[in-house]
Amino acid sequence: MRTQLEDVIREVEKVIAGKREVIEKIVIALLAEGHILLDDVPGVGKTTLATALSRAVGFSFRRIQFTPDVLPSDITGFSMYDKESGGFTYRPGLLSRVNLLLGDEINRASSKTQSALLEAMEERQVTVDGNTYPMEKPFTVIATQNSIGTAGTQVLPYAQMDRFLVQLSIGYPDYEAQMTMLRDRQTENPLESVSCVLSREELTAMQRETRSVTMKDEILDYITKLTMASRTHEAVAVGISPRGALFIGRTAKAKAYLEDRDYVTGSDIQAVFRDVCTHRVLLKDGSEHSVTQVLDDLVKKTDTPDHRSRFQGIMKK
């Protein structure tokens, strides 16, 4: 484990006890320069997590609560007539000078607002009235959607879900964790104690290094086999897209980097496969299985690269 990243995780853990796994996954997504979709019930600490993370890595953090009234211009900014200069001046929106954006209940925003945000996520720039404004780097969006109380919401279209790198859920804390939390918060807010242990520049450098992690053909082959198997699986209507495959590779690289390796192994792929692909697979109507079951099934049925690499080196020789 990289010590610096370990520090980040420990800092965040101060606030969210007992959720190390999720925090690690979020750090991985950060390294892979991807956006995160949190699918969760209210009140499990999504905002706290995002705030703590942004503090630990020295990000500028903003949060927006989506409602049907939020307009695209709130996000991207808009041009306003300036009486004194007699021209239009650009008033930056939410997306300027932000590294980590928490979009709460993204499924409550109107579809045009959603699309404005998602476009910015993909392009990492904002275009208003034909002028392009670049955004801060790194830029990561943590969007949440509540799995209950979905009345009156605009469900994210499948095509837009595809743009998120991973879909995670924090889940309720266990007994121990909740006790710790209750104890810690009696007098002070632990958020205050989170210190910045990693600079933005260092993180950017790490992201660059992540990209240069070695991924051998055996691993690429494994990713391809997995995704292709998902497209032909009997319970699946829409399988994992090529972009999904690309994202699996990127996330696996980040996972390897987090574990202080400069090469991707089959276990990295297996570790990230579920998180990267849950929201990319659409099951057929009336399917008895859940997406998780189907993904596990895919992993179980596809030959691991370890097995396939058998004697291959010798044959090449």
Binding site: Y263, G266, T302, H307, F311
Partner: protein
């Protein structure tokens, strides 16, 4: 060596099955299974890639694989590895300990050169004598053959011998065969003498020459003779003759104890078969009777409809009528029998059927020959790969070596049914059997990590990783072999036998 025994065990089984068939169906199965005899060793040596059966025998002592540790651990000379040394002689344990690859030298010398080339032994005088003897014997054989064919007296003699063999033959419908037109009181002694002389010369020549092709040639000639003329020698002749040829072929001079046991085994089995399954003759006779009865019925039904009269039939018919008139009952019965025979032959045996039969028999023989070898042929590529893998244990590239060694560990686990299937190797630790020694799982997962590094990164691994992997392999082999039950040991042996 072990592979060879599998083949022979299979053959014995096959022979038993064919005898059973013979008993019930009256086929020429004996012939087919005799045909298999000489072909086996030749195929075996070509499949196992060994040049010479004798050479394998020489090495047999040490190729008895690593399973029997007591044997291989006997102190021989240990010397450092030199390029070209066989991988199986590496003393893994010591090599792992010393950090250098050590070779186990056993008492048996590396294939002595003069034993390979037996026509040219070391001493010159003996070589000349042998050469002259070989020439003389060849001349005798050719001369005997020429005399047998060219001198009318001996030719008739051999034909008369053939007739007697026909009479004694076990072949189905033996009575239907055409005899050579030779008087029964023909003097057969010159021919028999020539034949015996030829056979004796052949045997001596075979022993002297030690040529696989000669033996195969003799076996083929005998077989073709039997198939073409439809004379099957009785099984108790066929089996020892082919067995002898096989034994000669297997190990040209029967000085080896194992070979004697083998020859004795074959003889015992054939004798037992003849004694315990006396039905060979009886079944043949019964089958012939049935055929004859059926045919007689048909002949009576269609009498007179046969337009083409075979040669000599008219005369026989005439004589038949005459003897009926004169009241010579014996002659009449004899001629009636002949007439029926001729008609049977005409109905039942068109010429093309004969050829079809020969072709079918040959095809069947070929199929039977290939059958026991199919697993070896199929698994041969796997064996080659395993060999390659073992070579890479010593490869200069440590990554390659670690990769191959770890694969071997996995193979061992899988062969004993301790594998975890389609899981990543690092996750196998959870599924390893409890019988493995303390701390094995930790060493295994360390090695699995090395394996992953070797496969998925471009790193150059340090030399000690190879040692670690070799230690793990050794430990795995020891532990699994100790714990394996009989079935698993059998499986391991079979698997090793493919890899050895």
């Amino acid at each position: 060596m072990r592979r060879q025994w599998i083949v022979y065990a299979f053959w014995l089984l096959l022979a038993a099955c064919l005898y059973f068939f013979e008993n019930n169906m009256g086929t020429r199965a004996v012939l087919i299974c005799s045909l298999l005899f000489p072909v086996f060793p030749a195929l075996r040596s070509s499949i196992s890639g060994k040049e010479d059966a004798g050479k394998e025998k020489e090495n047999g002592q040490q190729t008895v694989s690593t399973f029997i540790r007591q044997e291989t651990d006997e102190p021989g000379d240990i010397r450092p590895y030199r390029p070209g040394d066989p991988v199986r002689r590496i003393h893994w344990k010591l090599s792992a300990k010393k950090g250098d690859i050590l070779i186990r030298e056993t008492q048996t010398a590396d294939e002595p050169a003069e034993k390979k080339n037996l026509i040219a032994p070391t001493r010159n005088g003996k070589k000349d004598f042998r050469k002259i003897l070989i020439r003389i014997l060849t001349a005798v054989i050719v001369l005997c053959l020429l005399m047998l064919v060219l001198i009318p007296e001996t030719r008739r003699g051999s034909q008369a011998l053939c007739n007697r063999v026909f009479t004694a033959s076990e072949a189905v419908n033996a009575y239907a065969y055409t005899y050579f037109p030779v008087p029964e009181n023909q003097n057969v002694f010159p021919a028999a003498f020539l034949l015996l002389l030829m056979a004796a010369s052949l045997i001596i020549l075979t022993v002297l020459l030690r040529s696989r092709f000669l033996i195969l040639g003799i076996a083929a000639a005998l077989t073709v003779f039997q198939v073409y003329f439809g004379i099957a020698f009785p099984a108790w002749i066929n089996i020892p003759v082919y067995g002898l040829l096989a034994a000669l072929l297997l190990n040209l001079i029967p000085s080896d104890r194992r070979l004697k046991v083998f020859a004795a085994l074959i003889l015992t089995v054939s004798v037992l078969c003849v004694i315990l399954l006396p039905g060979v003759d009886a079944a043949t006779e019964a089958a012939s009777e049935t055929v004859r009865d059926n045919l007689s019925g048909i002949v009576q039904q269609f009498a007179g409809k046969i337009s083409e009269a075979p040669e000599g039939e008219t005369e026989t018919r005439h004589a038949h009528t005459q003897s009926l008139e004169t009241g010579n009952q014996e002659a009449a019965a004899d001629q009636e029998y002949r007439l029926v025979t001729v008609e049977e032959e005409q109905i039942s045996m068109p010429h093309w059927v004969n050829y079809m039969k020969i072709i079918l028999l040959l095809l069947l023989a070929a199929a039977l020959v290939i059958l026991p070898f199919t697993p070896f042929l199929l698994l041969n590529s796997r064996r080659k790969k395993a060999d390659e893998a073992r070579k890479t244990f010593l490869s200069a590239d440590v990554s390659q070596a670690v990769r191959a060694i770890f694969q071997r560990v996995i193979d061992w686990l899988e062969a004993t049914g301790s594998g975890a299937g389609n899981l990543l190797y690092r996750d196998w630790t959870a599924c390893l059997p409890d019988s493995l020694p303390e701390g094995y799982a930790a060493r295994f997962s360390a090695c699995a990590a090395d394996f992953e590094e070797a496969v998925y990164s471009g790193h150059v691994l340090p030399e000690e990783k190879r040692k670690q992997a070799l230690d793990l392999l050794k430990e795995t082999e020891d532990a699994l072999w100790q714990k394996a039950d009989r079935k698993q040991r059998f499986r391991l042996k079979y698997w090793m036998c493919l890899c050895e």
